[in-house]
């Protein structure tokens, strides 16, 4: 009953076209009426307390770090480094995109920021060198969504907080799946370039390569600091985000000298603004999930799924299929905020490792960012490339199927995720 009211009111409010945050608050209000627990204070309290969270404070700092990396020349140097390594191979700029995407992923926590950087810097180059634009843009979009899988990761933080799971464990569990996604892209790119002939980049001289490597050294030190620091106990995830932003700031200001201190002001404003949009959504989701908890909605769902509860793989597959459909039309953050609190009790009851589930959840959710009709990462690439969405959608297909193949693999063999996760942690 409550489940029906929840689904009906949430979709009803969303279809009216209002911001999802408001749809979530109004869904909470509807459930409040239904449960006969009506009190305006609960709305105010949950909205404000939903925003008042120390772990979620990592969000603005990872966004800030991303902003500074793009503005301060760190992202550019990583791409240059990748060019000097593999640019001269057949289809080389594609491999450059993949390598740069994986390295950037270990610096930044947001798919949007990474995709924007990759698309701005690499796509014009690929177009000028005669690479098929749709395919190239598709590759960059697909590479961009590795960012939230390899730590640091904003979606993992939000998932960890809403599902009450260890953020550090999620981070460590994401490393191997993220690298596997990168390897998958390499194969898919190789396959899709088999009959296309483009002039490779000239092989750079040893001297240039040395210079580019030296230049990129400080940028490459960043993932070492972040992942090493998290693993080695220098700091907690929230602090890691602050360190990342601080490091990016110091390198951009004093080593690369591409920005000056006054240039930081708009970056701070932008990061604060983006954060507030993400976090208002988080706070609004707390309003509805408070009521979802009061209404015992997960229990309802568990009894509904009773027949498949004793087969973890079937349950996992079912959740993945549902999520792929939801991911087509919904953005990642609201998907996490709405689904994580409902599914996590289900998953734990069925005996699925919650950390493994978190990785799968975010992977499938990220794939939603590159599926039409609503795909935020697709839109970013499309607006940077000034190409219609249909063209990029067609270009992304081989990579999309690669990801789906990887997801199926992970459902059949969860050990691929769980064993390295234990090893790293």
């Amino acid at each position: 009953m409550a489940l029906g009211i929840f689904l009906l009111s949430l979709s009803g409010f969303m279809f009216l076209g209002m911001p999802i945050a408001f749809a979530l608050v109004l869904t909470g209000i509807t459930l409040m009426w239904h449960l006969d627990f009506f009190d305006a204070q609960l709305i105010a309290q949950n909205l404000i307390n939903g925003a008042d969270s120390f772990p979620l404070m990592a969000v603005p700092f990872f966004i800030l770090a991303g902003e500074i990396m793009n503005a301060g020349g760190i992202s550019k140097r990583i791409i240059n480094l990748a060019i000097s390594c593999v640019g001269h191979r057949k289809g080389g700029l594609g491999y450059v995109a993949i390598i740069a995407a994986v390295i950037l992923a270990s610096l930044s926590g947001s798919a949007i920021a990474d995709t924007a950087a990759l698309a701005t810097l690499l796509l014009p180059m690929m177009r000028d060198n005669g690479y098929p634009v749709g395919r190239s843009a598709g590759l960059i979009a697909a590479g961009g969504i590795i960012a939230p899988i390899i730590p640091p990761s904003m979606p993992f933080i939000i998932f960890g907080v809403t599902a009450n799971q260890s953020i550090s464990k999620l981070f460590m569990a994401g490393i191997v799946p993220g690298v596997i996604m990168g390897l998958g892209l390499v194969l898919a790119w190789k396959w899709s370039m088999r009959s296309i002939d483009v002039e490779p980049q000239p092989r750079q001289s040893f001297k240039t390569r040395l210079k580019v490597t030296k230049d990129g050294f400080f940028a490459l030190l960043m993932p070492v600091i972040i992942i090493g620091g998290l693993r080695g106990g220098l700091f907690t995830p929230t602090e890691a985000a602050v360190i990342a932003a601080g490091y990016a700031m110091i390198i951009s200001l004093f080593v690369y000298r591409e920005i000056k201190i006054p240039d930081l002001v708009p970056l701070f404003i932008q990061a604060a603004y983006t954060t507030s949009i993400v976090m208002f959504l988080c706070a609004a989701a707390i309003v509805s999930s408070y009521m979802v908890t009061l209404a015992d909605l997960p229990a309802e769902l568990i009894s509904l799924l009773e027949p498949i509860m004793d087969s973890p793989r079937t349950l996992m597959a079912t959740i993945v299929i549902v999520m792929i459909f939801i991911g087509m039309v919904m953005d990642l953050t609201p998907t996490i905020l709405i689904l994580a609190p409902v599914t996590i009790p289900l998953v734990i009851k069925a005996g699925i490792d919650p950390i493994y589930f978190g990785v799968m959840f975010i992977m499938v959710g990220c794939v939603g960012l590159i599926t039409p009709p609503v795909g935020t990462v697709l839109s970013v690439v499309s607006s940077v490339a000034r190409e219609p969405l249909e063209k990029i959608t067609k270009g992304i297909l081989p990579f999309l199927f690669t990801y789906i193949f990887i997801i199926i693999l992970f459902i059949i063999f969860p050990e691929i995720v769980t064993i390295p996760a234990k090893l790293f942690y």
Binding site: L16, G17, M18, I29, D39, Q41, L42, P60, M279, V329
Partner: protein, 174 residues
């Protein structure tokens, strides 16, 4: 009028940047203190969390005015213009209702918070709950303004799903 609003918005932006900068310093200093001196400031977490909440509600209020909150307009794009306007008016009224409840609840919590102090810094919790007053008034203002634009068929109105003919806006969720 527009000038005043612009100035206020600009000021809010700077306050957001300042809040973020202070949060940054508070957390950063605690990491440094821990490593170099084996100590820390007890107020660091409480202060940064308070600023965080203020930052979120300042920014999300501005975002209502700029229509940058994530929405879902696939269906709105497909329906006739008249129905689309009707939907927009209905959803604006619903949002105002939600904000009214937000305001009522915040006011109640604000009054309670006048007599309760935070654990470390001992600031009255009313400062925390006044974010709700700020946001419900601010967002309410923008939503009322847009509702007025829609009803008066003003060109400045924002209707979800409507594609403005000569606009070069990037379509966000196309």
């Amino acid at each position: 009028m527009d000038y005043i609003i612009k100035t206020i918005e600009k000021t809010i932006e700077y306050m957001m940047a300042l809040a973020l900068a202070v949060m940054f310093s508070a957390v950063f200093i605690n990491v440094i203190l821990r490593y170099l001196f084996g100590s820390g400031i007890a107020a660091s977490e409480e202060l940064s969390r308070l600023l965080f909440v203020w930052l979120i509600f300042m920014g999300s209020t501005l975002a209502v005015g700029r229509n940058s909150h994530i929405g879902f307009d696939l269906i709105q794009k497909k329906i006739p213009a008249k129905l689309r306007v009707a939907c927009a008016i209905l959803s604006h009224c619903l949002m105002l209702y939600a904000l009214y409840l937000f305001l009522e609840g915040s006011l109640r919590q604000y009054n309670i918070g006048l007599n309760i102090n935070s654990t470390v810094m001992k600031y009255p919790l009313a400062i925390l709950y006044s974010t709700g007053l700020f946001a419900s008034f601010g967002m309410g203002f923008y939503i009322l303004r847009n509702l007025f634009f829609i009803i008066s068929k003003n060109n400045k109105s924002h209707i979800p799903g409507e594609v403005k003919s000569n606009s070069d806006q990037v379509k966000e969720n196309d």
